[in-house]
């Protein structure tokens, strides 16, 4: 769905349906260099489960226009303003990777918006090595390739997919190529700069869920577990896959989110 928001055309997927006032809302927050397609196998599934779904493309990502945000704090403010614009008072936020930093920040600064939190392949900080940042500036397509390769478990090598006929390594690359070439480096720098994760995590007073990936090379499992320890009430599950968990283990993730929502 497209809307004019803050002077720009902004896209957020609702799974093809209009938002309905009396339904509970799930907000999916994508990671660095990604867009709403990170959650292709979650968005329409949860719409069918009876939820409003909002999966925005952040400015400059996917179909959304506008100047890119340059910090996690800006991401959080943009998201909060978008929800206010859509008249959504409260939502459960499901973040992936960088999206986890955004929802951590949101939980601390705008707790009134937060009904629930699901951290997918996340951590309290996501330091990015200089090589990847430099590559994302000088040769974005190489950086996409590196991220997609590092980000998927060995099943990516074998084009294994629940989704018949899909080749996730190439598809991951294609999704990242849909963004402006400057998007990835700006996102990675935002991740690198963010230092408030631990503080934000310590303020969370609601039940949360973390779904972590055993073979995650982007946000290693141990960092995800540190986040779990810093949140008062955070259940967690570890799936045998890589960083792109929503694509690699969609059914398992959906079932875990569904259980969390019903608990």
């Amino acid at each position: 769905m497209y809307k004019d928001f803050k002077g720009n055309k902004v896209y957020f997927s609702t799974g093809g349906l209009n938002l309905v006032n009396d339904k509970e809302t799930l907000c999916f927050v994508h990671g660095a260099g990604q867009n709403h397609y990170s959650f292709t196998q979650q968005i329409r599934y949860f719409v069918s489960q009876g939820y409003n779904v909002v999966a925005p493309d952040f400015p400059g990502h996917g179909f959304s226009e506008g100047n890119q945000t340059t910090s996690i704090e800006e991401d959080m403010l943009w998201l909060a303003e978008l929800l206010a614009f859509l008249k959504i008072e409260k939502a459960t936020f499901i973040g992936h990777s960088q999206g986890c930093l955004t929802i951590l920040e949101l939980a601390e600064k705008k707790p009134e918006l937060v009904m629930g939190l699901v951290f997918v392949a996340g951590a309290m900080s996501i330091p990015v090595n200089d090589f990847l940042i430099d590559t994302s500036i000088n040769n974005p397509e190489k950086a996409y390739d590196l991220m997609v390769t590092w980000g998927q478990d060995s099943y990516g090598s074998f084009s294994i997919s629940d989704w018949p006929g899909h080749n996730h390594l190439a598809e991951g690359n294609a999704i990242m190529k849909m963004n402006d070439p400057s998007v990835l480096s700006t996102d990675l720098k935002s991740c690198n700069l963010y230092e408030n994760g631990k503080q934000a995590a310590s303020t969370i007073n609601i039940n949360c869920l973390a779904v972590l990936a055993k073979f995650d090379m982007m946000t290693p499992l141990k960092k995800g577990l540190q986040m779990v320890e810093n949140i008062k009430q955070c259940d967690y599950k570890i799936l045998e896959c890589g960083h792109f968990l929503p694509i690699e283990k969609p059914k398992e993730l959906n079932a875990l989110i569904k259980n969390y929502l019903n608990s």
Partner: protein, 434 residues
Amino acid sequence: MSEKYKFDTMSLHSGHVPDKETGSRAVPIYQTTSYVFKDTDEAAALYNMEVGGHLYTRISNPTIATLEQRLASLDGGVSCVACSSGMAAMHLVVTAICSSGDHIVASNKMYGANINLLQHTMTRFGIETTFVNPNNLEEIEKAIKPNTKLVFGEVIGNPGLDVMNVPEVAKICNKKNVPLAIDATFNTPYLMKPITYGANILIHSLTKWIGGHGIAIGGAIINGGNFDWGNKEKFPTISGSHFALNGISFWEEFGPSALTAKIRAEGMYNFGPSLSPNNAFYILQGIETLSLRMKKHIENTKMMLKFLKENEAVSWLRHPDLEDHPDHKIAKKILPLGSGSIIVFGIKGGRDAGKAFIENVKLSSHLANVGDAKTLLIHPGSTTHSHLSSEAMKMSGLTDDMIRLSVGLEDIEDIKIDFEKGFKAAAKISSKRS
């Protein structure tokens, strides 16, 4: 972390890991029409294409999905749909993108059935095609109209062996915002990957070199995921509202894989040209040795070219690897490993000599296929292209004396001996005439 495996490794492994329950190393043949749903929730999610999985083999099947994923990885595509034949694949692409009132620009040097589909069948449904010389870039650009939804060609034309300048045609298509669909049957991903040159959609007849054994008919569409379908007015079937699935836009929900999602949700669902799981298995066995076979095909083709060039019974010889071929330069650039294993040549003495040749070879089989492990021959003018008008045949570069040779994997010395017998018989006819 994923490994980026090389071609030979992907040919053997992509799309499959040993079965968790049985340990089966080979890809199992899931000879089933349907799949028991775990619960109503899962059934609804599958029907609604919310998550991946299988509900009915007309739409998808685990054995076929392995084949699709292997093909997508070999060609560098984001997704693939396998179907009952190469022609079914072409039909699926055209009907996924075009509707009545739309227009296609296509090579005039294509396989006869491709031309027939566009020239005669699709016109009955209001889809018009302008046929162009595949190597006249200016003509291609001029032929693209506001309602053009597809540019279509073959990397290596059948049977004229014209080589399309895919990188340059792709640039034109990109400029005009029209997807470029390429029939890549004659090159296979071993010789060339058109997506890396800017093509958007690939069509394969899997029956040919990919299967390689002449035992299974099949086709596939490989989606490059590199085309922007976002213009709703121009591509309403992909980015507009779908008649089912709550009226979703495939482009908005599936992005790079929008085309294959559309084909699966509409083409496979409503037309039903599904591949059988058994045939998918046979084709997978072929893919396991694709690079080995292609190397030998190319090696034998080189030797046959030399043999035919030096043979007095041959009046003319055509192959893109020959320096006198009009597209030799582009072939060298985009097909550096070789321009395939089809050779066309003329026999002195015309139609009757050609007939005598074909009837007197023994090892080389006279039949309507190419890309088999065995050497195959045909006289296109009286068989594969016999339904074309004289004018259309001429446009496709066909002549009465033309023989199409699909070079096989035999010891090439045996094929040469076999050909000598055919040439001897042809020469008798030729000398009687003179």
